[in-house]
Amino acid sequence: MKKVFGVLLISLLSACASQGTQPSAEVEDKSRGVTAPSEESTRGTEATPTLNPLTDPNNILSRRSVYFDFDSYVVKDEYKSLVVAHAQYLRDNGNARALVQGNTDERGSREYNLALGQRRADAVKYVMTLSGARESQVESVSLGEEKPRATGHDEASWAENRRADIRYQGE
């Protein structure tokens, strides 16, 4: 018994000692290394009034969000024309590149939601590639439940967050 606790003591002491010397500088260094622009800064450009079809409020291409039912990644009929319009834009603008970001509401598993967000982004990308976009023009990624647009804890917020967003390179 005594021997066991001796070992236990040593391992605990070493664990605690090493934790005690953790420098916080390293953490800060890594934070500074993150240079990608924040989501907010890319979002801000959408509001700029312009004749660009992607941002003209009268153009369907200014609509970027596809909404989903709970635990579903089926692109509903009401969003098909929106997705097809973006596919045709990509077909007509061979240099354009789109990013589809899948999101979920906060309920349930974070990891399952990450995968579900991926399925939503993939489903939108699939419709786009069927409708004229090249596979290489569209990247699908998931933010899972980690980047909610609506921060409430109610059905209205959850519905807003069950969403895939289409973004264009340079936005």
Binding site: V34, S109, L114, Q118
Partner: protein, 449 residues
């Protein structure tokens, strides 16, 4: 003290220095019974703890303040008392005015009259060089015998750790199970825009940041030896799996493939990780060596396969898959002829996710959607019997304690994430909350021996 505390304004507040006699009302398991008042705790105490309900067969134990303990910067018996009480298996008996420190000073009938089945006595001696010598005896009141004697000399800065070891010994002697008071937990706290992956003692003390970022961190997973954590960080604008050594803070991206990389799970030998990658489309489970080499696809489906978790023998993985139309838990062998052939384990309801094996491999805990609620459940692998353990609204990320007796999970109170723990029989619950911020993604570390 925190947002959740005033919702239990009638709860009894107790200073750990004053052991009190508390009767847990079994017919009202969800009433807040005890709030451990940690105002006198060290500054780095990050979590507050509340206990709900109690087991049907609690062991009545009297813990007598140790000789000269009041001169120490950190008392030992308050820590031992709160550890034992938190387990739900013990009822603290007030020693009243009795203060024996040696066996000869113990008058057993006095303790029998107080209803104590066991008595803990001891002494502390400060010795030059900042060390403290501790001597503890566990006494059986009915048999009037000594069940255990334990001596240890520790630096004055390690008194809490020593107290946890003493609680482990008492727990083991009186319940026959391994104590987990000396183990550690990992979790993520979100405060404002900052995400902090932290490691703390099992009682929430000594919280230390492992990494901090302004992008999400999820899914911490302990290596079997407790020296490393795998986790998923979004710091590069997409999920990447890292393994970090706690002692040196050195870390390595072990899965940083095209697409998303997530859900790390350690093999029991600590050599491999199961991860979920979108590398080949969809979300599928792969095996990768801890150094990032030897990528090997494991699951084969057109749906979502994620949240892998190894069986303790390392032979199989349980995971979440929606291949049957809704997320359910499946099991598949890791190697051999049947590798990747999955068998469905959960059939009740349309949403069962986040499986975690018990350390004996006989059951697994998971999250079950129950109407509008997401609750912690446990399923026995042999009988397939399912038991719901909680009735809260939004539970996530259940994680077994290494003795299989407690399940740590994340839940939500008034829109704020907190940690909670439930005994694997569902009878006792406790809550751990922070002063500020959302706490989530808990993972219980291994035994430290």
């Amino acid at each position: 003290m925190t947002g959740i505390i005033y919702c239990f304004a009638n709860s009894l507040k107790v200073t750990p220095m004053l052991p009190v006699h508390i009767r847990l009302r079994k017919f009202c398991p969800y009433a807040a019974v005890l709030l451990l008042w940690l105002a006198s705790a060290p500054l780095h105490a990050a979590l507050n703890i509340e206990i709900f309900g109690g087991g049907a067969t609690q062991i009545p134990i009297a813990i007598v303040p140790f000789a000269a303990e009041e001169r120490l910067a950190q008392g030992i018996t308050p820590v031992v008392s709160s550890d034992l009480q938190r387990s739900g298996l013990f009822r603290l008996v007030d020693p009243g005015g009795l203060r024996p420190h040696e066996p000869v000073e113990v008058v057993y009938p006095d303790w029998a009259n107080r209803g104590a089945g066991a008595v803990v006595i001891g002494s502390t001696t400060a010795i030059p060089g900042g060390q403290v010598a501790i001597r503890v005896r566990l006494l059986d009141v009915a048999r009037q015998t000594e069940l255990a004697v334990y001596t240890e000399t520790v630096p004055a800065t390690q008194l809490r750790a020593a107290a946890h070891r003493i609680a482990d010994i008492i727990y083991e002697k009186l319940t026959g199970d391994v104590g987990v008071f000396s183990t550690r937990i990992a979790y993520v706290i979100k405060q404002g825009k900052k995400y902090s992956l932290q490691v703390a003692d099992a009682d929430g003390f000594n919280a230390q940041p492992v990494i901090e970022y302004t992008e999400p961190i999820i899914s911490p997973a302990w290596s079997p030896d407790g020296k490393q954590l795998a986790y998923v960080s979004f710091e590069n604008k997409k999920p990447v799996v890292y393994v970090q050594t706690l002692a040196t803070r050195a870390r390595k991206a072990v899965a940083n493939f095209r697409g998303s990389n997530s859900a790390p799970a350690w093999s029991p030998d600590g050599k491999k990780l199961a991860v979920t990658l979108s590398l080949m489309g969809g979300s599928q489970i792969f095996l990768v060596n801890v150094d990032g080499s030897g990528l090997q696809r494991l699951s084969q489906s057109s749906g979502i396969d994620t949240e892998p978790n190894f069986s303790p023998d390392g032979q199989s993985i349980i995971f979440t898959s929606d291949r049957g139309g809704s997320p359910q838990i499946y099991r598949m062998p890791v190697s051999g002829r049947a590798s990747g052939t999955a068998e469905r384990l959960t059939f009740e309801g349309s949403y069962n996710v986040s499986p975690d094996f018990s350390r004996d491999g006989k059951s697994f805990t998971f999250i079950h959607r129950n109407g509008d609620r997401f609750n912690v459940a446990i399923q026995n692998l042999a009988t397939r019997q399912v038991q719901l353990l909680t009735d809260s609204q939004f539970d996530e990320s259940p994680s077994f304690a290494p003795n299989g007796k407690i399940i740590l999970y994340a839940t939500e109170v008034r829109g704020r994430g907190i940690l909670s723990a439930v005994s694997s029989d569902g009878k006792t619950r406790q809550q751990l909350s922070t002063q500020a911020g959302d706490i989530r993604e808990p993972a219980w570390g291994p035994l430290s021996r």
